[in-house]
Symmetry: D2
Subunit: 360 residues, 4 copies
């Protein structure tokens, strides 16, 4: 295979390790004398005349230790469900596909690497099914994609949670306070579970194990009675009480965190126990920062493998990590299947042995 040109884009929420993927892609492409076109702001960059830049070892020098994505990203735009892209608006879908095809032809792309999560991989699948040479790289900071055991970003996120708990532990302990720390995880509790356990949380609330505010209050009281210095509770943003009560009054845009689960829990505990209870919402802190060694290495691996898939002409596939090796799986297999915490899993069992309460 002679000199050629490939493209790459990063789509959806940002995530530590994205720049390591870019580093891997550009390095592997360079060894093959391929040119790499980096599209800006996710799929939006594909719209003619195309918004992109040529990526070289020099232009991306020093990006690996940085968070975010050099190329920019968006979780809005034309290619998202809100435009009706996909099933709901076939004519728009056809139009966007046609535009993407144009950009491929104009630039002479031999392949496009799409780095994205659930939704972005679905878009990638549409492009692929339309005949475009697509290769996927899974991106999910929540680590909730069924098709890969682990992906980059997750380790950095739980490190952020752990470091925050280390910080909050001393103040909680000095004042004998109760603190609720709200972390990412709308549908899966991986970040709360792994981050909370590493940070020595006293209770961890996850979407997969509905909790009872009453039980949680008991845990706090028991700890106080035993003389424990404060209580640290980690709650995934998707954690929910067992009785299904509505705890969140979101604005239509879903952009405000007022009345998030953390505040709700803090209020409940405060009212039930009479103890001072504070909330800390980690929010976007979890998405930024210097990526951990694991995330940089996973990112680089995935980037290199994606180039190899293009070289092999193995399109419509996504890089995945299983049994300590990277493998290629059909993109179709990856989308819309969430990996959730099993309440009976070894990890949850260990957490219970560590006297971590789940509020159930």
């Amino acid at each position: 295979m002679g000199d050629q040109r490939i493209g790459i884009l990063t789509s959806g929420g940002d995530c530590p390790g994205l720049n390591a993927v870019l580093h891997g892609v550009v390095s592997a492409a360079q060894r093959r004398n391929w040119e790499v076109v980096g599209f800006h702001e996710g799929f939006e960059g594909l719209l003619p005349p195309g918004s992109f830049e040529i990526l070289t070892a020099e232009s991306i020098r020093g990006i690996m230790p940085t968070g975010g994505t050099f190329l920019g990203t968006t979780n809005k735009g034309h290619f998202t469900p809100r435009t009706g892209w996909g099933d709901r608006n076939p004519s728009l879908a056809a139009e966007l596909l046609q535009k993407a095809r144009e950009t491929f032809q104009t630039l002479g792309l031999a392949g496009l690497i799409v780095v994205g999560g659930d939704g972005s991989l679905l878009t990638a699948l549409h492009l692929s099914e339309d005949g475009l040479p697509i290769v996927g790289v899974p991106k999910t900071i929540d680590n909730d994609l069924e098709a890969t055991v682990i992906t980059f970003g997750f380790d950095s996120a739980i490190s952020c949670v752990m470091e925050s708990l280390d910080r909050l532990r001393t103040t909680t302990s000095s004042h004998r306070r109760v603190m609720v720390v709200e972390v990412m995880g709308r549908h899966a509790g991986w970040i709360a579970l792994h981050g909370g356990m590493a940070g020595g949380a006293d209770a961890i609330l996850i979407p997969e194990i509905p909790f009872r505010a009453e039980r949680l209050a008991e845990v706090v009281v028991e700890r106080t009675q035993r003389g424990c210095r404060g209580t640290l509770i980690v709650a995934a943003e998707g954690a929910a009480p067992r009785d299904g009560r509505q705890v969140r009054s979101q604005t239509p845009s879903g952009e405000t965190r007022l009345g998030g689960i953390g505040d709700w829990i803090a209020r409940e505990i405060s009212e039930r126990t009479g103890q001072e209870c504070r909330t800390c919402v980690l929010g976007h802190l979890q998405r930024g920062g210097v990526p951990t060694a694991m995330d940089r290495n996973l990112g680089q691996h995935f980037g290199v493998r994606a180039v190899e898939l293009i070289e092999a002409g193995d399109f419509g596939k996504m890089v995945s990590f299983q049994n300590d090796h990277t493998v290629a799986v059909p993109i179709a297999q990856a989308v819309h299947r969430l990996r959730r915490v099993s309440p009976g899993s070894e990890f949850v069992r260990t957490a219970r042995e560590l006297s971590i309460a789940f509020g159930d």
Copy 2:
């Protein structure tokens, strides 16, 4: 001066460097063959029969790199204004003073080191005026005590702000978002100013410079038009709009941060510019964590000096830092005088040269 026994307590909100003070006190006392009594939970530990433990080099081994306070603290309790302690309730004040005096006599204390902020130093002053041998060490994470140029905790707090901005910068930039980061500082903007400048904030809002939401929105729009990738706004919790509108609907206990200034600003900008705008409230993260080198060194210095003041019988004084040296100033001089950011100061001028907007 032969072998004797001294006491120490930490009072008020916790602060990185408190354990370094303890380390300094215990080290200097040990060289004099003095015994150190560490009282628990601030002044509360003074109430008979006294809640305390003997501090030795061995018992506090390894505490210097940790946040919080080994002794525990409280910003409630009997000796705070809410009980009417002090001027408002003379009979209670007399009773508490008598109890403290009892503990001094029972334990045979040659001196007591009080590490605390504004309010705690006022209590220390009362005890001192009542004839008890008191020495003060200033503790204010906000760095807003007039009597000392710098004190421990502040550098760790601005490091936390800076690191958080480093984290948020990449995600803000990847998504071209506006982010409002709410930091400590009810009455003085030091943390917002120094932390924001170090973290490369695009705008900094402080209590000393009332801002206009309209002007802030203009800044955001101008930046977008110039092609800047996102805007990072740091707001001290005490920042307030120029028109004095009520921006905060606090609960009576003042403990909830719902409707804090950060959220208010985010809403204002979002409505005025149509751009997505998120809030991140750093809160207690700023009080914890591994203290910086400066805070550990200041803390140790202050602890050693406090012991020397007791040795010299120089009571009613507080350790202070001025012109690169520690000095002793009357406690009376330290309380109730806030050091605030001067809008015309060199630091603000530099910030403006860095194109940091103050929204004025």
Copy 3:
């Protein structure tokens, strides 16, 4: 199974995550109302009358975020090969076993958890074969035990290497220098490979792939000619040139690092290329520090599992991690089998795609 008493000791070189194991053991034991005896300085603590303390949740409060081991350790002492313990001195071995047995009986230990590496697990095996109720937890910062895919300490070590490379990269780049960073790994190159890749090393030298100084010098020259700003070389301490020349002049005690492989390589490159070449030996920095989230979680898992093995009476086994789960394997299977980097493995292949030179 009623209330009982178990023991634990940490042996060999220290390693981040040891305190997490202690945390896991004490937590799981506490739930069973078991008492935990923590022996000091590895196996030495077993010698009558025994040097130990009772571990409780309170006594080990706050140790999880700290490096080292709360119990102390040694890589010397009576139970090491240097005393001829084991095969070489059967009478000494018999005597030591008898002493250990005495301590077991005096204290009424229902089981002993030995946390240690290769050598310590061999000692554990001897004790087990002698009929004592032993359970092993593998500890190898180098990640070179065949019986477990991963163990605690390794991730913290590669994080240290990565952070050091991040630091050195800027100075190397500013001055266009060559820097050789010597890292741990006498027999296996895992730390050099994973840490170097995460830190963006330009060359990685490992024991498993003998290098040629000549080739390394070529890499440096090529990079200079291409305009690269400096070259970062990571060398495992056990890396060796292909021609087998003696590069190290160790003292009998093996304790000095003068003339280590890093210095040798720096001299070779400097002489062959005329370029300034510095060395940095990370040494013990890699063993300390705050353990990463992964290492804390692995440590806690292993500690809990070890208690469960004792509960099940499953002695002579070691906790191990395989296919994302913990399993129990015979200790006999774990000792004396090193897991080394395969030169043809996926990881090495990815590194080559990233243009990392191995000097071969």
Copy 4:
């Protein structure tokens, strides 16, 4: 003053905060509509035809949190004493001055900001005395320039020392070892003193207080007898024993650290006490890494002030920091005067109160 063009160069060893200076200069220049020419590799970039690039807010985006210098630097080259530049070789000096003048004229520079230490400021002084419009910014990671109380880089360096001691403490303590940590400071002990004190060193050796190996060995033995877990000794690279014995066998190039003071001390202690004693040479780790908040703020301040000096036509001056304010002092006053630790200073006295030994 209308639109104009100014230059900046960074010279000598690299130092955290250099990029913050660049950030400050470019920001302040941009507000004045000035163009900034950044010269590469220190003064070398001045040699015709000039090696430089135009610095804009966009081109230096994101550099503030990074170590090193965006512009590159050198501590060799034509303008250093080794070429005889200056007094020793007047004809060379005249030739280089002429070349620099040419570049100034060709580019039409209204001023040049030189960021450098002792030696580089001397070169700047020569250029200034030759009539070129020069402004200086002091750069000394050792904090040993008489003309400024503090400069950027120092706080980052002592943070690195402190963090390294935090790491080494746990391993030293677990194994009850003696560890000698060699840090920067050939002529002044500021880094050893401040970094060692923050990191809880048990002994600190600095050039200003000659030590006795015999006394140091006594300290180690006393600590062992008191049951202390290990001993951490911090030694400035310029520390020297009182009897003036030769401890260092440097190569002519001075580039090897074999036989540095750290190794010498370790050998002495080991021989005198029989205890295991290791060395760790921090070396270049101290120069890199993410700059601290203080260093970023000092750097930005200095950069802004330097632009203001050019604006005011106040050439031949250097920005300096005294009594919490920046001031301008004649460059002539800054060079060749070292600020050293006074053995009788408050800081040393505090260290002694903390039971830190100086070996004297």
